[in-house]
């Protein structure tokens, strides 16, 4: 282990709580009280804590900064009662691509960490990889749902709703697995 267990514990904790901010959306009016940019700040902190252990995590810093900055800009803009969604369509496409890679790579690296430190016989790494695959497929489905609906001549709200529901279930499962991974690094009393 090249990092302290405390750092690993903190890194995995931040990643898990980051997903809470990312996936749960509780609004007061148009303003989210669980803003996504806080999630990316937590991911940034998690990358810092874990990159000594998993070198590939450092590749995610630019993407984390980009996604976090855009989420922050969107949150600030939401105070005006409007949304940035769809205003800069090409940028939305770039961010969707960035987001796909970011979450895929983050979970790949966390699964690597799990494979190293999980107790004998535990399947945490395989669970994380499976959920990662499901998550990337769902994110792709959500990203494609809009253009596909437009191409087919009308919105398909049931499709977006179904994908969102499935996304919520997968994200809850992911958080559960991350908190399970955190227990592998629980500091000794």
């Amino acid at each position: 282990m090249t990092s302290h267990p405390e750092a690993l514990y903190r890194g995995v904790s931040h990643a898990a709580w980051g997903y809470l901010f990312l996936y749960l959306d509780v609004n007061l009016g148009t303003v989210s009280i669980l803003p996504a940019f806080v999630g990316y700040l937590l991911f940034w902190s998690a990358i810092g804590a874990l990159e000594g252990e998993v070198r590939d995590l450092s590749l995610l810093r630019p993407l984390c900064a980009l996604l976090g900055a855009w989420a922050g800009a969107g949150w600030l803009y939401s105070w005006t009662g409007s949304s940035l969604d769809g205003r800069f369509y090409p940028l939305d496409v770039i961010l969707q691509a960035a987001s796909l890679y970011f979450h895929f790579q983050l979970f790949t690296d966390l699964a690597l960490l799990a494979a190293r430190y999980q107790p004998e016989g535990a399947d945490l790494d395989r669970h994380l990889l499976r959920l990662r695959t499901l998550q990337v497929l769902l994110l792709t489905g959500l990203a494609l749902a809009g253009p596909l609906s437009d191409l087919c001549g009308g919105p398909a709200p049931w499709l977006s709703a179904a994908l969102s529901l499935a996304g919520l279930l997968v994200s809850l499962a992911l958080m559960n697995r991350l908190f399970a991974l955190r227990r592998c690094f629980h500091p000794a009393p």
Binding site: Y89, P90, A97, Y101, F104, D109, V136, L137, A143, D150
Partner: protein, 665 residues
């Protein structure tokens, strides 16, 4: 591409996709594999091969609107730019008529010259290879056998600095005559051969010719060819082990100072010092791509490809700054009306109705045939620059009065007609000019005036247009001035979709059938207290892709006794029951309910004691309305006729009412 504007549309659309790919590739430069880095150029290749702006869609950026706006602003041309093919086609017959035509000819000449230059360069290379001696094939065969590649003919050419493959259909491996070539270099070239990289290079050269004046696409072409080399390096490294990989890097390094001349239909391991340095960096990252990247690579490519290839529908008309004192705003708005076409008859009729309500020429342009756009634009420009200084959108529809924007319009009697539809568009008026616009308006609060105009919707190429069929007619109703919401249930003073009639013993029977089709045009207006629903208002924004949301049907039935007054007095109470007939003659059962009424089957019934004055004056009248079942966008089907039974004095008479006006005779 048949003119300068279609070329601009095609090349700008490709530029948008190229800019997107460059941004994403910069983001993923050190994250995704060379396979992805090269493969994702396929998205740009497909964008270049698909005609831009098809079906009113645009990719990523609204280039059609910008090109149309520029064309109108610079040339005053209101035609719609279409890309028929992604390759340049000759200018139409006749001499070039404008600077744009001359520029297009210049573009054609440039493309032809570059194509010729590439062809000559390729021929020169093949001739040079002919002069080379046949190389010893033993090394080629050995390397090919060791790595599962297909060998090819090889020639040793004096003066070559590095090996390369030349040709797509009869490839030749050219080797330097003066020095031995490393097996790994041979492997690199054989892998180019195996994966048809020379053919990709040829395609890239063709794109260079087609878009020779677009520097962004040239940069992409350079990068794509470099990515092809990086991918080939990756494939070589996947086949080598340990020290061999380091050797391969050293060989690449030794080529950093080699001269690099890119020729069509060739692939060369040496592609210039700067590119080789980038490839060596890629080799250094070789092990850093985590396993399982294929899935996310494909997902990212799909997320990029779908919007870049199929694009987005033009959202509607662009009403600019809404100051309407700006000619450029006006030209942009007219351009948007060309680009955003109505895709349904419902949308076109809705746009026409709103054009009349708002007196908005841009809305009218959205649903007008393209050939009418120049005249429409001239009319609006004349109004804007004339003595009255109307806003640029001002359009005179000929409506004999002022419409009520709260009421909107009503689309009566939508009927299929030779591939299109005809209908009657009805506008409730706030006040009307029955004696002409120069006379005082009729402003009786006890009377609602209606203006109606027959219209026809038909499909012209990929858009629905509306053609007025005659002038507006003013109709005075017996209702007091209101928003006319009741008009969905029919209005006796307006024409019928179908009139059914029949004569029977002592009775003349008539049934008038009307329909009203409507879109969902209700919007909630804001209130001060945001959690309370606002009042419903009519949405006057046009919706180029809208469909009908509802349809209503109504009938008014009259039976007039034609006998004498004595005979009428002798009849006593007259009862009636009627049912609609389907095309095969079947019908629901006739029934007499209590009093008067109707059922969901279309049957209705009543009697003289509740269908007229007392004492009975000899006229029976009845009427009702209902929602039309099924999808309101389906072709409307009227009843083929009505079966009516009259019972009086213990005697029953039956009559079949058949269409005498409208519907099927």
């Amino acid at each position: 591409m048949t003119d300068l504007w279609s070329f601009l549309l095609q090349t700008l659309t490709a530029s948008g996709a190229a800019a997107l790919l460059l941004a994403v590739k910069a983001l993923f430069r050190d994250k995704l594999s060379p396979r992805w880095q090269f493969g994702v150029w396929g998205v740009l290749a497909l964008v270049l091969l698909l005609p831009a702006g098809g079906g009113g869609r645009y990719a990523l950026f609204n280039w059609p609107l910008w090109v149309e706006s520029a064309k109108t602003a610079l040339t005053g041309d209101y035609s719609l730019t279409r890309v028929l093919a992604p390759i340049p086609l000759p200018l139409g017959p006749g001499r070039p008529a404008s600077p744009a035509d001359l520029l297009y000819l210049l573009y054609l000449a440039g493309a032809a010259a570059l194509l010729l230059r590439y062809a000559l360069s390729y021929l020169r290379l093949r001739l040079a290879l002919r002069r080379g001696a046949e190389a010893d094939g033993a090394q080629i065969r050995r390397v090919a056998a060791a790595y599962g590649c297909r060998p090819c003919r090889a020639v040793a050419v004096p003066g070559l600095s590095s090996a390369f493959v030349c040709g797509v259909f009869r490839p030749v491996l050219a080797l330097p005559a003066e020095r031995p070539v490393d097996d790994k270099v041979i492997l690199h070239e054989l892998l180019h051969l195996r994966f048809h990289d020379a053919a990709w290079g040829l395609l890239i050269c063709l794109f260079r010719c087609l878009h020779w004046c677009n520097p962004l696409l040239w940069i992409c072409a350079d990068l794509a060819q470099n990515d092809a080399e990086s991918l080939c390096d990756q494939r070589v490294l996947e086949r080598l082990e340990g020290e061999e990989r380091r050797d391969y890097g050293r060989i690449l390094l030794s080529m950093a100072d080699d001269r690099y001349a890119r020729a069509p239909g060739t692939s060369s391991m040496a592609n210039g010092g700067r590119n080789i340095r980038a490839r060596i960096q890629a080799i250094a990252r070789f092990r850093r791509y985590p396993a399982g990247m294929a899935l996310v690579s494909v997902c990212i490519a799909a997320v990029l490809a779908l919007p870049a290839l199929f694009g987005t529908r033009a959202g509607g008309v662009v009403l600019g700054s809404r100051r309407w004192d700006d000619a450029l705003d006006f030209q942009t708005a007219m351009a948007s009306a060309r680009v955003a076409r109505c895709t349904t008859a419902a949308a076109a009729l809705d746009a026409y109705g709103k054009a009349v309500l708002e007196q908005n020429g841009i809305y009218r342009a959205l649903c007008a045939p393209l050939e009418e756009h120049p005249a429409l634009a001239a009319e609006m420009e004349a109004a804007a620059t004339g003595p009255d200084h109307w806003v640029y959108t001002r359009w005179e529809s000929g409506l004999p009065g002022y419409p009520d924007p709260r009421a909107g319009y009503f689309l009566y009697n939508l009927t299929p007609d030779s591939g299109g539809y005809r209908a009657l568009m009805v506008f409730p008026l706030q006040w009307a000019y029955p004696d002409g616009p120069d006379q005082p308006p009729a402003s009786d609060p006890d009377c609602l005036w209606l203006a109606s105009r027959p219209v026809r919707a038909e499909r012209r190429e990929d858009r629905w247009v509306v053609l007025p069929q005659g002038a507006f007619t003013l109709t005075e109703t017996s209702r007091s001035l209101d928003d006319g919401g009741w008009l969905v249930w029919g209005e006796a003073s307006l024409p019928a979709a179908v009139t059914y009639a029949a004569e029977t013993e002592q009775f003349r029977l008539e049934l008038r059938y009307q329909t009203v089709h409507a879109l969902d045009n209700a919007i909630q207006s804001q209130t001060g207290l945001s959690w309370l629903p606002g009042a419903s208002a009519f949405d006057t924004a046009v919706k180029p892709y809208a469909r009908f949301a509802r349809a209503y049907a109504s009938y008014s039935f009259t039976a007039v006794f034609t006998g004498s007054e004595d005979q009428r007095a002798a009849l006593g109470e007259v009862r009636y029951a009627a049912v609609p007939l389907s095309a095969d003659g079947s019908h629901p059962a006739l029934k007499y309910g209590a009093g008067s009424g109707s059922s969901s089957t279309g049957a209705f019934w009543g009697s003289s004691s509740n269908s007229g004055p007392s004492p009975w004056d000899g006229t029976l009248s009845d009427g009702a309305g209902t929602y039309l079942g099924g999808d309101p966008n389906d072709t409307p089907v009227w009843p083929a006729g009505y079966l009516v039974e009259l019972t009086a004095g213990g005697t029953s008479r039956q009559a079949t009412l058949l269409p005498v006006e409208g519907g099927a005779a």
